[in-house]
């Protein structure tokens, strides 16, 4: 299991294997630290979801966690950056640290990546370590697997997660399996990452939620980042992991700005993030839906509800420990996801919660997800296919009746 490295203050937390009954209350992890003493940790994600064609500026919830705001920005330690820059920073630090780390994908080299995550890395590390590949996803994923088995630590960038469907064969039959079928002789420490999710009118083929398809593959781990802080932490953890990890980014979250620590930190790949503690209801979400949930939370707080919001982050395996503790406290669960209704992450999570925490539930688990339709191109239709804050508020009100 991945280990949490905390550079914050004096607390160095180690999480053991996730088992529902262990005494996790004694373990201080970052989330608890941020609630008690926020020195330089301002969990602020500015809701500027900019893509080139964005006409409708959606102002999202800013400060969702109850923290004491510091007065002058100049004295705040840490540095501000955008999410894609955070990814790049994490990537660069790992490439600096370990010469075996390399990146491959379409246009990652001198172009700097379609979302600028690998900008300037080719100049710094050379064409061979930041490799531009021809357009054949199955093949460069296969290439990464072969390179990993021979000792490198490659990171595969899919220009869009949807294109990685072409790489499904290599990911499922080889990436997930070869460590097992070779009897442990060959490890495959690859990281497969790319933007997915519904963007701004990108069309059905560019709006795929691949976490639904990949969640069944044994042998891989899946994580989804949502803030610059967890993007950098998860990227570093994924690169250091010996298992193949798929890191899901979201097209609309690349321009989120946040202040992150200057010190090095790595996050646990299997841990969920407590975004807002509460008492009445547990809302589980990940990636972009986190921001819709936080916007709904603002409304809910005004209406007198106290939702507990958890960003599950780890899509495979689920952090059932954090989720379990929350369910035991609130007894009501709402899952908000962007996946389709059938066979999505929410469907699996609903099944898992029902199986393990049935006795603690006072109401059925409700899952808000996108409809089982290809994502339409028209702006209004696209908006209706994604779960909106008003729907979340209504669902909470119904559950908490």
């Amino acid at each position: 299991m991945a280990v949490v490295f905390q550079g914050i203050g004096a607390t160095a937390a180690l999480t053991s294997a996730t088992s529902v009954d262990s005494k996790k209350l004694y373990i201080l992890s970052r989330r608890l630290v941020s609630e008690t003493k926020s020195t330089f940790m301002v969990v602020r994600s500015d809701g500027r979801l900019n893509s080139g064609s964005n006409r409708r500026a959606q102002k999202l919830i800013t400060n969702a966690v109850a923290t004491k705001a510091d007065s002058s920005p100049a004295t705040k330690p840490g540095h501000e950056l955008l999410l894609f820059e955070a990814l790049r920073e994490g990537l660069e630090e790992e490439m600096e640290r370990d010469a075996r780390v390399c990146v491959m994908g379409e246009d990652v080299g001198h172009y700097g990546g379609s979302y600028k995550v690998t900008k300037d890395l080719a100049n710094k590390y050379g064409d061979l370590r930041v490799l531009d590949t021809p357009i054949a996803e199955n093949s460069f994923t296969g290439m990464a697997i072969g390179a990993a088995m021979t000792g490198l630590r490659p990171i595969v960038e899919g220009m869009n997660m949807g294109f990685l469907l072409l790489a499904f064969n290599q990911i499922s039959n080889n990436c997930g399996m070869l460590h097992y079928t070779s009897g442990g002789q060959f490890t495959i420490p690859v990281v497969i990452r790319g933007p997915g999710g519904v963007g701004r009118q990108l069309g059905a083929e560019h709006s795929q939620r691949l976490e639904s398809y990949f969640q069944s593959i044994p042998g891989i781990q899946m994580v989804a980042c949502s803030t610059p802080y967890n993007a950098k932490g998860l990227m570093k953890a994924a690169i250091r992991s010996e298992n193949p990890v798929i890191l899901f980014e979201h097209v609309l979250l690349y321009n989120l700005k946040e202040r992150i620590p200057d010190e090095e930190y790595i996050l646990n790949l299997e841990e969920a993030e407590m975004v807002r503690p509460g008492e009445h209801i547990t809302i589980l979400t990940y990636s972009r839906m986190r921001y819709h949930v936080m916007q709904a939370a603002k409304t809910l707080v005004n209406k007198g509800y106290d939702p507990e919001v958890i960003d599950i982050r780890s899509l495979k395996p689920f952090d059932l420990h954090t989720i379990g503790n929350s369910v035991k406290k609130t007894h009501r669960v709402l899952i908000v996801e962007e996946c389709m209704r059938t066979g999505g992450i929410g469907a699996s999570l609903t099944a898992a919660i029902n199986e393990y925490f049935h006795d603690y539930l006072d109401a059925p688990v409700v899952c808000l997800s996108s409809q089982d339709v290809p994502t339409p191109y028209a702006g209004t239709l696209e908006e209706w296919t994604v779960v909106q804050p008003t729907q979340i508020v209504t669902a909470v009100e119904q559950l908490c009746r």
């Binding site: 299991m1 021809p134 290439m143 072969g146 021979t150």
Partner: protein, 479 residues
């Protein structure tokens, strides 16, 4: 210039007689500029006999006139200048032509196949005999015999129900052993599934083969991968994966890794003729060429992909010609001639490492056995074709004639050796049968680097089920 074009009876023909010269010239320039015709060409202008007899060209009648009809020197010079111009295209400088040409779908001459020994094991005198040490030659022969016997006995074991699946390499012994002989232990091999010979050469023992087939606890794969899909990291042979051609891009990745580390080694990967239809084959070749990786693609063209013969697999002249399409140096060798294969792979390896480039080798051979124990190939191919290749074109027999004629081997030694190998294989099978199967815990390890909680739970569940209903589970299953 081909003179089979019939005299065109259309407007241009009339024009040449009726209009003034300059008008005609203007008309010519229009023809020269356009590259596509809006109307389909009349069929009498299209050559009916492509192939080796006539040059496969389709000419437009305008340029036909251009070459013969100019009286004015200026006009002639202008046309020639245009033809000499080149387009500074992104892919490289491209010269123009005013003769519309189509590259033929098949070359005038088929690719030549390199061989050193003829069908009876005599060296072909016109070729320079490669210098192969006696030691390597004899090891090659002995390993080919071992492979042959191993295949026969394991196949029989499957028929007796002792193992549930096997795939032989009968008829392809040379293309299994000889490439391995030409490589060093540092070269990384990614086989398809019909190359146990490379493992055999590198030191995989008969017992280790049997362990994998019986999926016992000594198997390096811990009883997880299907039969015949061996793998050994200490011998630098990656575990075989069943989907066809997935190992080709992985091999490019391995070669890329070797290139990054500047090792004096190359990656070698195998596939069959059927595997060249997979998308991964084309992308891997393309990638290897673009990235200039030191890799050898060895294609065992054995004529059949289960029941699909070559004519239904592709229409190119074999596989070697495909290399050029990707910018890869390629060659075709007689896959049943171990010396030829050895020489070719040796030379290719040198080029691959020194020049950092991919090489494609097509080895022509024949799959004498069935595709696997689940197949009966007499259903789709004539039995006498199989017998012909089993007897007349047998690579082991052919090599044996060569070494016996040189006095390095005798019939007595041969029969003695075969008896020994047979005994060893039988012993290996008997020993492997007796070894315990892998324990239940091995079902859940190695999915990840450390077993996560959900898998631990699932293991608990199955253990409980076995405890409660021991009769429903195999009694010899170690828990």
């Amino acid at each position: 210039m081909a003179m089979w074009i019939t005299r065109p009876r259309n407007i241009t023909h009339h024009l040449k007689t009726n209009i003034g010269f300059l008008e005609f010239f203007k008309y010519q320039r229009i023809w020269l500029r356009t590259s596509s015709y809006s109307n389909p060409l009349p069929s009498n202008l299209i050559a009916k006999n492509y192939g080796s007899t006539s040059p496969p060209l389709l000419r437009d009648w305008a340029s036909f006139f251009t070459a013969r009809r100019y009286k004015s020197e200026n006009a002639a010079k202008q046309v020639v200048d245009e033809e000499k111009q080149a387009l500074d295209f992104l892919g490289g400088s491209v010269t123009f032509t005013s003769d519309l040409e189509f590259i033929s779908e098949s070359p005038e001459k088929k690719v030549h196949c390199y061989r050193v020994l003829d069908d009876n094991g005599y060296p072909i005198t016109s070729t320079r005999l490669p210098q192969v040490s006696n030691e390597i030659t004899m090891k090659m022969y002995r390993d080919m015999v071992t492979l042959q016997i191993m295949d026969a006995i394991f196949y029989e074991a499957q028929r007796q129900g002792r193992i549930c699946f096997y795939a032989t390499t009968t008829g392809e012994e040379a293309v299994n052993i000889a490439p391995a002989a030409a490589l060093t232990p540092h070269d990384v091999i990614l086989p398809q599934y019909r190359e146990p010979g490379v493992l055999l050469w590198r030191g995989f023992t008969l017992q280790e083969f049997a362990n994998q087939l019986f999926a016992n606890k000594e198997d390096y794969g811990k009883g997880r991968q299907m039969h015949v899909h061996y793998g050994s990291n200490k011998l630098n042979c990656f575990t075989m994966s069943a989907p066809i051609a997935t190992q080709l891009p992985q091999a490019v990745g391995a070669a890329y890794s070797l290139k990054m580390e500047k090792k004096d080694a190359c990656a070698v990967t195998f596939c069959g003729d059927g595997g060249t239809s997979e998308g991964d084959f084309h992308a891997a070749l393309n990638f290897a060429a673009v990235m200039e990786t030191p890799i050898l693609f060895i294609c065992r063209n054995n004529g059949w992909a289960i029941s699909t013969p070559l004519s239904e697999q592709f229409r190119s002249d074999g596989i070697a010609v495909k290399g050029q399409a990707y910018g890869i140096r390629s060659t075709q060798v007689d896959g049943n001639d171990p010396l030829a294969v050895y020489t070719a792979v040796r030379a290719a390896r040198e080029m691959a490492i020194v020049e950092q480039r991919p090489i494609l080798i097509e080895a022509l051979t024949y799959r004498v056995g069935h595709h696997s124990t689940s197949d009966d190939s007499t259903k789709y191919r004539p039995a006498d074709e199989i017998e012909f290749w089993r007897n007349e074109r047998n690579p082991v027999a052919r090599f044996r004639k060569w070494i016996e004629r040189n006095g390095w081997w005798s019939e007595k030694e041969d029969s003695q050796f075969r008896i020994e190998v047979r005994q060893q294989v039988m012993q290996a099978i008997q020993a492997a049968e007796r070894i315990e199967k892998p324990p239940l815990s091995e079902m859940f390890t190695d999915v990840y680097d450390q077993t996560p909680s959900n898998l631990q739970e699932q293991e608990e569940m199955i253990r409980e089920a076995i405890k409660r209903h021991p009769k429903d589970y195999p009694s010899d299953l170690p828990v």
